[in-house]
Symmetry: C2
């Protein structure tokens, strides 16, 4: 979706309502794939026409009868309001690699913040050098509330697709996958694979050609 | 250096001496950059001409007045004797990333063996899930004795070049570098860089173009 307007061209009353739409959308649980202006108006106690006009200021119209794709509408609102966060990330899978990445100082030096990890095998919150690790059940809710759009998967291969699905349900738009498995993601999700074992295998093969 | 001969063409007496040359070279400490047939003959109590003939069976001649490049002569002997190991690796830098890689099960699944780690801040041997971690002073000797040719650097940026130099002195021919620093290596050393922070930064930048 394009952003057809700049803040200067938008009525002041609309500007004050835009954060409320974003709050409302962030609070949806589960997040529907599509949401209509009518549904938003009903839930928020606003006029149908007003909602349509307000949202038209930041997002081009949704599909007939279905409405807006929810994640895209959230992204448009966040981007417009200057709150799209492209430097915060969460980790799923708090094994050794996950914990090492959770506390890897070099990320902070480059302005990247890995703010929490989630794990299947936790009953209560834990921590690693002061960084929180939560049971995986908290993932979707916390990702939405923390407004995180990058997810790092360091689970086993068998748990990776579930981790990926939960991240996307939580609003993540970019996935860095360390699990040695092909992940299925929607077209609008950025997927970057990092297979450490394949990298070492490549080095081993290069070595064998010269020894 | 090429290998001008196959085992069938080599005198039996020479074949029995080749492992002795390799043992001798593995025992050198420090390892000289070049070594002459004369020096080998003197140290091993063999005839100068005999050593030249023996080594000519597995390695083309060294440089005049300097002799053989020691690491290349070792590689030629190992390769000829079928003992060149292209799947074993050691780690320098036993922080979280280093320890995670030391015990990363996926490596073993692909037939790759990370057999030990070394660290600057250790006074005595330690371990991580049964894998040994040694003080860095043991590095060159153990690498040579274990016949390891792959080194993984997970030190800080400031310690990485020293780690790299020690690995090469220990006979390593391929380096996988996780430290965010440009390493200087001789032309015959394979260097493969893995900058995790740059990878996450790249993902962040890709995300910012779509949000």
């Amino acid at each position: 979706m394009e952003q057809p307007n700049t803040p200067a061209a938008i009525p002041r009353q609309t500007l004050t309502r835009l954060p409320r739409y974003l709050n409302y959308l962030h609070g949806l649980d589960p997040v529907p794939e599509y949401i209509s202006a009518t549904a938003i108006a009903d839930d928020m106690g606003l006029g149908n026409v007003q909602v349509r006009k307000d949202l038209a200021c930041v997002a081009s119209g949704g599909k007939p009868k279905r409405g807006y794709k929810t994640t895209e509408l959230i992204a448009c609102l966040e981007n417009f309001l200057g709150c799209s966060d492209t430097v915060s990330a969460v980790i799923v899978g708090a094994g050794k690699i996950g914990r090492a990445l959770l506390t890897y100082e070099r990320f902070e030096e480059l302005g990247l913040h890995v703010i929490a990890a989630f794990d299947e095998n936790l009953d209560a919150a834990a921590e690693e050098d002061g960084k929180p690790i939560f049971p995986i059940e908290k993932l979707e809710d916390l990702c939405r509330r923390l407004n995180v759009h990058i997810g790092i998967i360091t689970t086993s291969a068998g748990n990776a697709q579930n981790a990926c699905d939960r991240l996307i349900a939580g609003g993540v738009r970019a996935v860095w996958n360390f699990a040695p498995v092909h992940l299925k993601v929607p077209d609008d999700i950025i997927l970057q694979n990092e297979d450490l074992a394949s990298s070492l295998l490549l080095l081993s093969r290069r070595l064998s050609t010269v020894l």
